[in-house]
Amino acid sequence: MSLPRVRIEKRLKQRRFLMVAVPLGSLVVAHIAIAILLVATGHPPVATFRRLFDAAYIADGALTNSLIAATPLAFTGLAAAVAFRMKLFNIGAEGQLYFGAIGASGIAILLAGQSTPVLIVAMIVGGAVLGAAWGAIPGLLRAFLRTNEIITSLMLNYVAALVLNYLIFDSLSYWRDTSATGLVFPQGKPLVDAATWPVTTIGSVAIPFGFLVAAAVAFVVWVLYTRTRFGFEAQVIGDSPRAARYAGMRTRRKIVAIMCLSGAIAGIGGASQMGDFRHVLDARGLQQANYGYTGIVVAALARYNPFAVVFAAFLLGGLQNAGYTLQSAEFPSGLVGVMQGMILFAMLGGELLVQYRISLARPVRHVRPQTESAS
C-alpha cells in the first residue's frame, strides 16, 4: 500500500465561506455533467440550458407557473426539513399530503355555504389535522415500538394513495362527484367558488396564497428551531439521543410531536393543492406529481434550513415548470429529472467538503497506532 492515502477528518468548525461556495460549486459541477450528457447525445448544451431557463423564469407567465409548481414543493420540503433535522427520516410527506387534500376538500364540501376567509382557515386546519394524523402513525410506532420510520412512512404513502383511489374510483364516497357525469367519469366533487384561495399579483407575477402560507410556515419553523426550547431539545435528541435522555428530555413525546408537525405541514400542502390549484380531489393528478419525494430533494438541497427550502422549492419548481412547458417540443424528455438528480448528487458529494477536511498524506511506514481502541 504505497499509494498516497487520502485522509478525511471531521472539521471541528464549519467554515462559513464553504457553506456558500460548496452549493454554488455543486450547481456548476452538475451543469457540467449534464452538458457532457447533452453533448454525448447530440444536443446543443448552451441552447438547451437557455431554453430551459427561459421557460422556467423569463418567458411570459413563466414565473407565475414556476410559483405554482414551487408551492407544493415548499410544503413537502419544509415537512421533510422539520423531521430530517431531528434525524427522523419521514419520507411519508407524499401520503400526508394526500390526506391533507382529503381533509381540506372534505371540510370545504361540508362548509360549502361559508365565506372565503372561513373556508381558508377551515381547509388549512382540516389539511393539517389529517396530515398530522397520518404522520403520527410512523411517529407513534417509532417512539413506542422502535420501528424504523423510514420504511413505515414509505409504506403508508402507498396505503394513502389506495385510500385516495378508493374514495374517488371505487366507492360513492363523500368526496366523489355523484352527478351523472361523475358516475361515468369518476372524479372528486368540485369545490364551491368561495373555497378558491386568493391570488396576490405583483406586476405580472401571480403569487398563489399557498406560497405565502408556505413562507409563513418556514418562518414559524425557523422560530421553533432556533428560538424555542422545543426546537433545541428536538435537535439534541436528533444529534445524541442518549445525551437527551440523560438530560431528562421527553424523547418519545418529541418524536411523535415532530412527526405530527411534519405531517401537518405536508397536509397544508395538500390543502393548498385543493384551494389554490385543483379545486377537486384529483386522485390521479396528485399521485402523478410525486410532490413528497421531490420535497425531500428540496429539503436536502436547502440543507434543511427552512428559508432555503422555500428558495430551493422555487428553483426546482422552475425546472419542473420548464419540463412541462417544453414537453411537446423536440426537447429531450427526462432532462429535468436528470438535472434534479445530478444537482442533488453534486450537493451530497459537496457536503463532504463542508463537514470534513480532506488532505493527502504521504505513505507512512511502520507507524501503526499501538492502541487502537475498539468501541
Binding site: L37, T147, L162, S333, V338, G341, L348, G349, S375
Partner: protein, 319 residues
Amino acid sequence: MNSSIVVVVLASAVAYGTPLLYAALGELLAERSGVLNLGVEGMMLVGAVMGFLAVQKIDGAKGVVLPLAVAVAALAGAVAALVLAFLVITLRANQIVAGLALTILCGAAGLSSYIANDFELATDPARYSFEEVNAFGLQDLPVVGPVLFGQTWLVYASWVCVVLVGLYLSRTRPGLNVRAIGEAPAAADAMGISVTKYRYLHTIAGGAFAGVGGACFSLALTPLWVDGLTGGTGWIAIALVIFAFWRADLCLVGAYVFGAFSALPLILQAKGYTVTPQLFQALPYVMTIVVLVIVSSGIGRRRLGAPASLGVPYVREER
C-alpha cells in the same frame, strides 16, 4: 382445468413476482452489508431501458441477443449502483437522500425517459422478447404445470439466483463476512475485513439484480417501452426484503404472495364477488408494516432482526 382463472392468476402472480424477486434479492445483498439503497426503482428503470435498447440495436440471433440484453441491463443497474455506492460509502452521504436522488435521476422522469426518448424506443415493440418455455415437458400437468413449468427463462433463472444468494449468505465465508459487516462493521473491520470493499461490491451486485428485474418488464412482461413501466415495483422490493426477514428463500415466497395479492381481486371479481381492490392492494404494505413492528419489538429483534448497521455509514475514525 389449466385454463381456469385461478391457475391463470397464479401463473401470472409468478410471472409478475419475478421482477420483484430479482430486485429484492439485490436489495437483500446491499442491506445485508448495511447499505439501505432506496434507489431500486431508478436502477430497475435504467436496467429496463438499457436492456430494451440492447434488444433493439444489437444484431444477431434471438438466443444471443436476449442474454446479451439481460447482461446489459445488469451492467446498467450496476453502474447506477456504483454512483450511489461512491456517494454513500466513500463520501458518507445520507443514504436515504442519495437513494431518492438516484431514483429521481434515473427514474420515470429522468435518465430512463431521456434515453428512451433519444433512441426513440417508444415507437416499436421489442424485436425479441422472452417467451414461455415448456420446462421438461411438464407444462401440461394440472395446476402446477402452467404455474411452475410454463414460465420464461427469466423465471427459472430467478430460482437459481435465490438458491445461490441464500447459500452465499448462509454457507460461505464471504457471506458470513457480509453479515458481520451488516451487524457490526467496527468488529468486522477489526477482524481485517474491508468494510468499504464489501459494501461497494454488494451494493453494485444489488444494482445488477435490480437491472435484471427491470429487464423482466421490458424484455418479457411488457416488451415495449413506456416511461416508468416498472410502476413502483422497486419500492415494493424494498418492502419485500423486510417482509422476508432479510432471507433469500422468504423473498421468493414473499414475491409470489405480493404478486398474488395484486391478482386476487381479479379472481374474486370474476367469481362474482363485489370486492374493493384497494383492500387487497394495500395488504402487502400493511403486512410489511406489521412485520417490521414484530421485527423491531423484543422477541423479533433477537431472532429476525434487521442488520444492525443498516443505513449507518461506517467511518473508521468515529467508531
